[in-house]
Symmetry: C2
Subunit: 252 residues, 2 copies
Amino acid sequence: MKILLHLSFLGTKYCGYQIQPNGITIQQRLNEATRALFGYDCDIVGCSRTDSGVHANQFCVAVSKKGTNCLQTTIPIDRIPQAIAPHLPEDISVIGAELVEDEFHPRYDVKYKEYVYRIWNKPYRNPFLQDRTWHYPKPISDEALVRMNEAAARWRGTHDFSSYMAADSKITDAVRMIYEAEVVRKGDVVEFRVSANGFLYNMVRILVGTLICVAEGKISPEEIDELTESGDRSRAGMTAPACGLFLNKVVY
Amino acid sequence: MKILLHLSFLGTKYCGYQIQPNGITIQQRLNEATRALFGYDCDIVGCSRTDSGVHANQFCVAVSKKGTNCLQTTIPIDRIPQAIAPHLPEDISVIGAELVEDEFHPRYDVKYKEYVYRIWNKPYRNPFLQDRTWHYPKPISDEALVRMNEAAARWRGTHDFSSYMAADSKITDAVRMIYEAEVVRKGDVVEFRVSANGFLYNMVRILVGTLICVAEGKISPEEIDELTESGDRSRAGMTAPACGLFLNKVVY
C-alpha cells in the first residue's frame, strides 16, 4: 500500500506543482515535508501539473518510500493531515489521506477532473480575493452570461481542442472529452466550471479568455463550433491570468 | 460639502486604521492617495479605530482639504473609486464615494456598526482563508452552536460591558447597546455577527473568546448574565486573534 494525500494550496508563490530548477514548487515542499515526517526520502507523484500561480481546492499526490512504490508508517492514516501540517508552509494544507494499492497511479487513474475559474466582476478591487480571482472590471450582464453559457455548451462532448491549447505545447493528440461546462454568477463573482477527462496546456485559461470575447460581443456563441474545428489558436481569446484558476475536484 | 469614502481593506499588514509613529496604517495610505489624487493635503477622519490586523468589508472616512472641512474637485463623485485606485495598495479598495455635508462626522454620526468574526473550524488549515479567519481546529458541534447562541442572546440590550474590555483600556463609560448578536454556521466557517451603537477596545474579540469557552463547556450560557454584571475581565474568555475580525457595516 502507499498513501494518497488530498491537498489544497494557494499557488500564488509557487512555480506550479512539478519540481523544476528555477523556483519553489509544491512538489518540492512535499518532498521536504514527507522526509521530515516519515524519516526517509519519498517519491511524490501528482495528479496533474499545474501552472505557476494556479491554485487547488483538491489536488492528489501518491507518496511512497523512494524506489519502493509502497510506504510503511506507524502513524495512523487519519492522523497524517495533522501530523504533516507543521512541516508544510501555511499556503499548503493536507485535507485528507487514504491508503491506495501499490499499482494506483494518481495521474493515469483519474476518471475526470474539474477546474473552476473565478472572476471578480466589480469596477473596484476586492482586497480579500486578490490573487484568488481575476479582476475583470467591466460589468458582465445577465444577457452576456446567457451567451457565455451558450458558447460553453458547444464545448461539451469530444473535440480536438487545439484551438484552446498554448501555442508552444508539444502535445500532438489534443482530443479531449468535456463533461460539463457552465458559467454561474455567485454574488459579484462569475465562475466558470468545467470537467473533462483531461486538459491541455493552458486550456481552461484560454476557454475563459474566449468566454470574455463572447461577453464582449467579439465572438458569437454560434461561431464557437467553427472556432473549435479550425484548430487555430489565434482565433480563440487571450490566456486568462493564472490567479483565477483552481483545480477543484479529482475523481478516480 | 466633503466626500465620504467607503473602503474595504485586508488589515493583515497594517498597524490598524489610525496614524501612529511605529508602523504603516490605513490612514497614512489614504493621506498619500488623496494627496496624489486631489493635489493637496487632506484631513481624513475615520468611522472607527481598528486594531492591528483587523479587516473591513465596509469602513468610512470623510475627506476634506486640510484645515477647511470641505473639498472641491472636478472629478465626478462616482469616478473617485476608480480614480484613487492606482494610488492605493492592492489590499485597500475604495468601493464607493458620496457627498456629505460639512458638518457630517463619520464617527459621531454613526447609528450602529456591525462586526463579523470568522472562525475556520476544520482540523486542517484553509490556505485561502489564512489571515482572513481564525483557525479553531476542534469541531464546534450543533449542540455547542445552540449554547453559543443562548450566550450571545444574553448580551443583547443595554449593559455595562467592562467584563469584555481590554484591561488596559482607559474608557470609563463602558455602557453600550447591542442590537443583534448571533452565531451562524456557513459551511466550515462559524461566524459571529454583532451590531451595537458602539464597541469597547477588543470587545468583539473578547466576546468571541467567551463564546469559545461556552462551546468548550467552561462557561454555561446561564452564567453569562452574572459574568457581564461582575465587570471582571478575568472571568471572560481570551481575546480571540485579530485576523478573524471584520468591520462589516457602518450605518448613519
